[in-house]
């Protein structure tokens, strides 16, 4: 077995050195009744070729994003990741290294975390960022708990256009959290203005709003920020498409107190939903209430600049039951992928990428608006918008699959049983789409709707 270096002879030598007769002697503390005599009922050992064959067969059953015109978004986006990114993250010293608790032999990891934190603070327009959360949705849950700690209040007000998975995570975490947090979620409507400010009162710890929202709407949040602050509540802004930060005013500039973003668009790829990377940033004054790892700059004994994990006393391994969170890992390698891609993009590359995404969406909206029966509902958007179809969108999407097009996410996938959104389709466009893709989508949709 190629992964197990011990030979039978060596095992015998080692047992002798230990003073045990057989390996069973080392399991003597296991209750007799719990000792398994034989391997469990699962397939036995398989060689590399056979594993490749079997897993390859499973993979082949799936329709890949690159093989068809592709317009699926709603929280995860198909972007082009430069070849260097995946190559570098597979270097042994990145792939198989550990959390940098021994900083003297982990300056590689620590330096890229510091660069990552700087990039995230810059694109979100905030003072400080941490070294990542698991993803945007769990980060949002943590942000709500953090706001409760800071304000000592008990009610979180969530926009009805926050991604439903994110809202469910917040509801689950707050529903079980010790802090007795009530969660109010706004009604679902793809376009009607949502008066969140009216729902803020003296018991509101935070207002959580997504921008662009789940239906693609872009908004200026400055008035909402002022309304929240006037009542002593915090504004949490969620961004599920990180590329939007290259073209849209940053949440920080709009007055956010905490920004949570899904970083998947940059460096990470679709991966069927995970692993992704949660970006988390806040104001300087709330720094010590931030969950997750933090990397800080310092010097070594010879005065050379170096980096270490810092402010660890917030974390579980020291504070235990008084920790700001129970989080232990960050998204390590996905952080690195993000950092590398962002480095390759640079200032004008990131802005240009965002520009291309927006133009792709505008072109797509124009093409779909020409399809009989289709109405584009979203007025202001970045790279995602909602169209209204003359019939339920889920069936239309399945019919589009048969024509070789992955044409967006039916709103009913996210809001099942809600008749008001049954005919709505959420469509994303990115820099990978071509004119041919858009034409194919429009043509297929025309056929399906006729």
């Amino acid at each position: 077995m190629r992964y197990l270096p011990l030979t039978p002879g060596e095992r015998q030598q080692m047992l002798a050195a230990i003073g045990a007769r057989s390996i069973d002697d080392l399991f003597v503390d296991v209750p007799e009744a719990a000792r398994l005599k034989d391997p469990v009922d699962l397939p036995r050992f398989m060689g590399e070729m056979q594993v490749e064959r079997e897993l390859g067969a499973l993979a082949a059953k799936n329709m890949t994003a690159s093989s068809v015109p592709f317009f699926v978004g709603a929280g995860a986006y198909k972007h082009h990741v430069p070849a260097s990114v995946d190559h570098i993250i597979q270097r042994s010293e990145f792939l198989t290294s550990y959390t940098p608790y021994q900083p003297e032999i982990a300056q590689g990891t620590l330096q890229y975390l510091f660069e990552f934190q700087t990039q995230v603070a810059a694109i979100t327009g905030m003072d400080v960022a941490n070294a990542s959360m698991y993803d945007g949705s769990t980060g949002t849950g943590e942000a709500v708990l953090m706001a409760a700690r800071i304000t000592k209040r008990h009610k979180a007000v969530l926009s009805g256009r926050l991604h439903p998975h994110y809202a469910d995570v917040v509801r689950t975490v707050c529903g079980h959290a010790g802090a007795n947090l009530a969660v109010e979620i706004g009604g679902v409507h793809p376009t009607a203005p949502e008066d969140l400010a009216a729902r803020i009162d003296s018991d509101t710890s935070c207002v959580v709003v997504q921008n662009p929202d789940c239906f693609g709407n872009l908004a200026d949040l400055r008035a909402l920020a002022d309304a929240a602050h006037a009542k002593g509540a915090l504004l949490i802004v969620v961004v599920t498409e990180a590329v939007s930060l290259g073209l849209v005013t940053s949440p920080g500039a709009m007055g956010a107190d905490i920004v949570v973003a899904e970083g998947q668009s940059i460096g990470v790829g679709l991966q069927f939903g995970g692993p992704y990377v949660g970006l988390f940033a806040t104001r300087e004054k709330y720094m010590r209430q931030m969950p997750g790892r933090l990397c800080g700059q310092t010097v070594d004994g010879q005065g050379r600049r170096g980096f270490v994990l810092t402010l660890s006393t917030r974390e579980q391994h020291i504070r235990r039951e008084k920790a700001t969170s129970n989080i232990c890992t960050n998204s390590g390698l996905m952080c690195l992928a993000f950092t590398i891609h962002m480095t390759l993009l640079g200032e004008h590359g990131f802005q240009r990428l965002a520009q291309l995404n927006h133009e792709a969406a505008c072109d797509l909206a124009d093409a779909l608006a020409e399809v009989p029966g289709v109405e584009v509902l979203t007025r202001s958007y970045f790279n995602e918008f909602t169209v209204k179809l003359p019939k339920p969108a889920a069936a239309v999407v399945s019919a589009l699959v048969k024509k070789g097009v992955l044409g967006g996410v039916p709103a009913s996938r996210l809001y099942p049983g809600d008749k008001d959104v049954e005919n709505l389709l959420i469509v994303a466009a990115t820099e990978v789409n071509t004119d041919a893709c858009r034409a194919a989508f429009a043509a297929a949709l025309t056929e399906v709707l006729s």
């Binding site: 391997p39 594993v51 709603a74 270097r91 079980h176 069927f272 004008h348 999407v397």
Partner: protein, 528 residues
């Protein structure tokens, strides 16, 4: 002969042991590397993107103004930057990584290849379910392997890390107690040797933590635990094997006691590598156990993440598995994503993450498990336990192992700083000296139940030869430390590490005046 004036000296040179100062700060292959932000704006491109058309935007007045503040690097500069950074990291591929409780085993590259098959890596979580049947099948297959190995009837696949799995397990317990109408149960019993995530998770969901002491055999004190039981106890959280590397031999009695008191048994599965394929937690009375795919099942640690922490459940907790989960549907599969779609008897307690879980880690773990098979996985546990006992046997005469003579350890061996008493060398110094010897240190100062703990977990993917060299290094350091402060022998320890890219860093300054991002020099000066 025909003359040839191309000769040059080709013999080895003397010297090289003195440290010379170079002009550049580089030391041959070990390169100093600035931050990307030190490069600033230069107008270079690292990507070649098409030129935008420049059409009017539909951003509704939200277009950003001004610069973001990102530097510009070309592609060759970027690649070189990150490659240089990588060279300052220790890794499993570099050498033995004996971190107790972390299971730093070899990360097979086949796993990477399988995860990158387009059919797994290039699919979107919200594509129509019928277009990704192979993905649901993989998740279902992995779930089947996890349930069969552990002897448990249900599993929650969505938690994104071990700590997230703990949260999942405790939330399921809370939901089960609420369903029984037992809201008064808000106390959790946690051994004093527990990993920090245990009490942190319990506190997060509003439970109070009641600590149970250990016996002098390093196990949970069963009598003390029983004395703490009551009608307000929700659960006990036990790591087995425990954080001292020992199997909790009274685990069945613990299970019976907590069940008898109406509570649940949560098992922290971080040390599952010691018993996989040889013992089923389901046979020990466990109600919920998280499994660290990045520990037992070889998915890479990636410098700190990502992990994955699926949780296996007993029959009592099975109804509460959170959304989403995969079920068989005709001859295919379906993902249940909303409580309205749940079947009879299924009452998910909520949703823990967007989308479906760490698919990238599922494919890697599945590749690993198939490569070993049920027989290979059993061998994994045996070799892991054998390797740890071998290290313990070869070191306990020169180091101090608090439980070294009361029986075998499992997959990790615990030492404390008793052997360093009077030497002036601390556990920290000892660990830093080990860096100079070419090893990442073992886990230090954990568990908290012994003084100056050193927890060594070699894993099964280390050869006997590697272990013998490691043992030699540890013995040499231990004997050196004990030789005491004669002729500066402890200098090796007090200033270590001397040979790494950085020496000991000022963590005090980092915490007193945190600098968490790069700032432009002009701004930094203005701030002073």
């Amino acid at each position: 002969m025909s003359m040839n004036n191309q000769g040059r000296p080709t013999h080895a040179t003397q010297g090289g042991s003195e440290q010379i100062l170079t002009f550049t700060g580089h030391r041959a292959l070990v390169q100093e590397e600035d931050l990307i932000f030190d490069r600033g704006r230069s107008g270079k491109w690292g990507v070649d993107l098409p030129v935008p058309k420049g059409r009017a935007n539909r951003l509704g007045g939200t277009a950003r103004k001004g610069e973001i503040g990102l530097p510009d690097l070309s592609e060759p500069e970027t690649v070189r930057h990150f490659v240089r950074l990588s060279q300052k990291n220790y890794s499993i591929d570099t050498g033995l990584f004996p971190l107790g409780s972390c299971t730093m085993k070899h990360n097979p590259r086949l796993n990477e290849k399988m995860a990158r098959l387009p059919g797994f890596g290039d699919i979107h979580p919200l594509q129509p379910q019928e277009t990704v049947q192979g993905a649901w099948e993989l998740i279902d297959r992995l779930a089947h392997w996890l349930k069969t190995l552990t002897g448990m009837p249900a599993v929650a696949m969505s938690p994104k890390a071990g700590a997230h799995g703990e949260l999942c397990g405790l939330m399921a317990i809370k939901a089960a107690l609420q369903a029984r109408g037992e809201k008064q149960r808000t106390r959790i019993l946690v051994p004093e040797s527990a990993h920090g995530t245990n009490p942190a998770t319990a506190a997060l969901i509003g439970y109070t933590v009641d600590t149970v002491p250990a016996t002098d055999r390093g196990r949970v004190d069963l009598a003390a635990l029983k004395a703490k039981l009551g009608p307000d106890v929700a659960a006990v959280m036990v790591t087995n094997p425990n954080t001292c590397g020992l199997f909790e031999d009274e685990v069945r009695e613990i299970a019976d006691a907590i069940h008898g008191a109406g509570g649940f048994f949560y098992c922290d599965g971080a040390n599952y590598n010691a018993i996989v394929g040889r013992v089923r937690p389901g046979d020990l009375g466990v109600d919920a156990m998280h499994i660290n795919l990045h520990k037992t099942f070889s998915t890479p640690h990636g410098g700190g993440g990502p992990g994955a922490g699926p949780v296996v459940f007993s029959q009592a907790l099975a109804p509460f598995v959170p959304l989403p989960y995969v079920v068989a549907d005709g001859d295919g599969f379906r993902n249940v994503e909303h409580s309205g779609e749940a079947g009879d008897g299924e009452t998910p307690f909520g949703r823990l993450t967007a989308f479906h879980g760490q698919m990238g880690m599922f494919t890697r773990a599945m590749s690993y498990m198939m490569s070993h098979g049920s027989d290979g996985l059993r061998q994994v546990a045996e070799d892991a336990v054998l390797n740890a006992n071998y290290v313990l046997a070869q070191l306990k005469d020169v180091m101090s192992a608090p439980f070294g003579d009361t029986g075998p350890c499992m997959h990790e061996a615990l030492f404390d700083d008793e052997f360093l008493k009077g030497t002036g060398v601390t556990t920290l110094d000892f660990a830093k000296a080990l860096i100079d010897e070419g090893y990442h240190p073992m886990t230090v100062y954990f568990p908290l139940v012994v003084h100056g703990a050193m927890l060594v977990e070699p894993t099964e993917t280390e050869s006997k030869e590697t272990l013998d060299r490691f043992i030699y290094a540890m013995r040499s350091l231990a004997l050196e430390a004990k030789a005491g402060n004669k002729e500066g022998k402890t200098d090796r320890f007090s200033g270590a590490p001397y040979l790494s890219p950085r020496s000991r860093l000022d963590e005090t300054a980092a915490a007193r005046k945190p600098v968490l991002k790069w700032t432009p020099p002009a701004a930094a000066q203005a701030a002073e």
